[in-house]
Symmetry: C2
Subunit: 110 residues, 2 copies
Amino acid sequence: MTSSELLTKLDFNKNNGLIPVIVQDVNTKTVLMLAYTNREALDLTMKTGKATYWSRSRNEIWVKGETSGHTQQIIEISADCDYDTLLYMVDQKNNACHTGSYSCFFNKLQ
Amino acid sequence: MTSSELLTKLDFNKNNGLIPVIVQDVNTKTVLMLAYTNREALDLTMKTGKATYWSRSRNEIWVKGETSGHTQQIIEISADCDYDTLLYMVDQKNNACHTGSYSCFFNKLQ
């Protein structure tokens, strides 16, 4: 399948027009965060090469790092087997989390 | 914060009682899949040490690998900064994807 065929198969219906995006650091392989994208944010991400999401709390397009400078350069984008989740491999500038932590997953439960 | 305090902070409200779970192979660091859990599936996962999810398509508790034998032994569970996403580090037996692929993220978009 070509990437434009893949793009048409993406399933934005399971999450009210949004698809969850797993963000992984291409250098360390650390999982940094989970974000959400809509069609527009995905188009912008692919055009600019900068990870751009839909902010569910602010209800707006969110260019990651636009204010903090902690941008994510896109290295690779993959969709999963049923086209309802994306994985972005990124080159993370500094820290991904708004708390100042490198990764958002710093709360160990077990 | 202790893990039982963390458990009470988990936010199951943003996704109709479900929390998305990113599943990563502890050995290869490959992101394998995104699944969903409810409180009951999380309790079972923590008790048994075997990744157990909520199947949105079958609408039931789903012990990963119960029929295929491709189980996921839990190594570590982390919650993210706002407690609405989990990351499971697992020891994956064989392949994670129902298509027979090792990881679900085999559709390269970019």
